[in-house]
Amino acid sequence: MTFVLCGVVSVSHYLVVGAVLFTCGVVCMALKRNALGVLMGIELVLNGANINFVAFGSEYLAGDGRSVLGLDGEVMALFVILLAAAEAAVALAITLNFYNNHATVDVDRADDLHG
């Protein structure tokens, strides 16, 4: 912690944050029965991945002044944000449809296709 405070923020630290967000998102997806909760978990997962992209694409964080991904990292992050927005819109529409049909948003009830 003190290393960080002393100005030694590195790519790895960003990766740790991303890992925490990713794990939280996955747990969120695994635990939430509310479909919107699952959706939020997905957002978290995507955000964790985005942090990694930005970290790898940042020249500021790069140890030798040359980032791993360069501009590509940020472009990827932008696309991920866009796709997340799109995904959120579709997922919400599906959720509403499910709610209309089953009068619930409990994903445990959505098992009509079980084996």
Binding site: F3, V4, L5, C6, G7, V9, S12, Y14, L15, V16, V17, G18, A19, V20, T23, C24, V26, V27, C28, A30, L31, K32, R33, N34, G37, M40, E43, L44, N47, N50, I51, V54, A55, G57, S58, E59, Y60, L61, A62, G63, G65, G70, E74, V75, A77, F79, I81, L82, A84, A85, A86, A89, V90, L92, A93, T95, L96, N97, Y99, N100
Partner: protein, 231 residues
């Protein structure tokens, strides 16, 4: 900025690195809020914590020198996607649905899994030597212009020596694909989420009798709100 010059014994405040401070702040907020998203059962609270987490992430982006991405994070995620989510929460906000409890067994299993996944990821994060070197602390040029040029197909950041002869391509095509994709998604979402006409009872009978031998009949019978077709 040479970190060798700043030992542990130095004055914390005098030598406080604001960059490191804000990193810790945003990272902490992002992580804590994310954990809170997981832990809270109320979907409205979950949404609030998510906003916090995403906003803090945007701060992290600013810190990493990706100010355009951070801005987009705030505008699209915090400003757009989460509003959408909140709308969804409100549309489905019935009391019994707001707080659906998860079985304790699942929580335990999920905790174990999360711990192992986190361990794996953190181990991976520190497994490469070069990733642990801190940055030079050199202020970098704003990235908005290169990004914009890259999205229309020109890589100004790569305009150098041999790349003039054999230039790298920009992101014009992916940009177009993503934009069309967004358009399609919005149309599809609007179609899926549109207001449904109530089913005519007679046709329900017809469908029910026609499909009486099939197991789907229960679904059909239970869902009287299924659309009869496009308006």
């Amino acid at each position: 900025m040479n970190h060798e010059a700043f030992g542990l014994s130095t004055n914390l405040f005098a030598f406080l690195d604001w960059h490191g401070f804000f990193f810790l702040l945003f990272a902490g907020v992002a992580c804590v809020a994310a954990v809170m998203v997981v832990l809270s059962d109320n979907v409205v609270r979950m949404a609030l914590h998510l906003v916090l987490s995403l906003g803090a992430t945007a701060g992290l982006f600013f810190l990493a020198g990706a100010e355009f991405v951070g801005a987009m994070q705030l505008m699209i995620y915090v400003g757009g996607t989460l509003v959408l989510l909140v709308f969804g929460v409100m549309l489905t906000a019935q009391t019994q649905l707001v707080a659906l409890r998860t079985p304790a067994g699942d929580r335990v299993i999920a905790g174990i899994l999360a711990a192992s996944l986190l361990a794996v990821l953190v181990q991976a994060a520190f497994s490469i030597e070069s990733w642990q070197k801190s940055g030079q602390g050199v202020a970098t040029a704003p990235t908005a212009t290169p990004l914009g040029m890259a999205l229309v197909g020109v890589r100004v950041d790569q305009v150098e020596e041999e790349n003039l002869v054999r230039p790298k391509s920009g992101y014009l095509l992916p940009f177009e694909i993503v934009s069309v994709h967004l358009l399609v998604v919005l149309v599809g979402a609007a179609y899926l989420a549109r207001a449904k006409r109530r089913r005519v009872p007679r046709s329900v009978d017809l469908v029910a009798s026609a499909d009486s031998t099939k197991p789907m009949s229960s679904v059909a019978a239970s869902s009287t709100l299924v659309a009869g077709g496009p308006k």
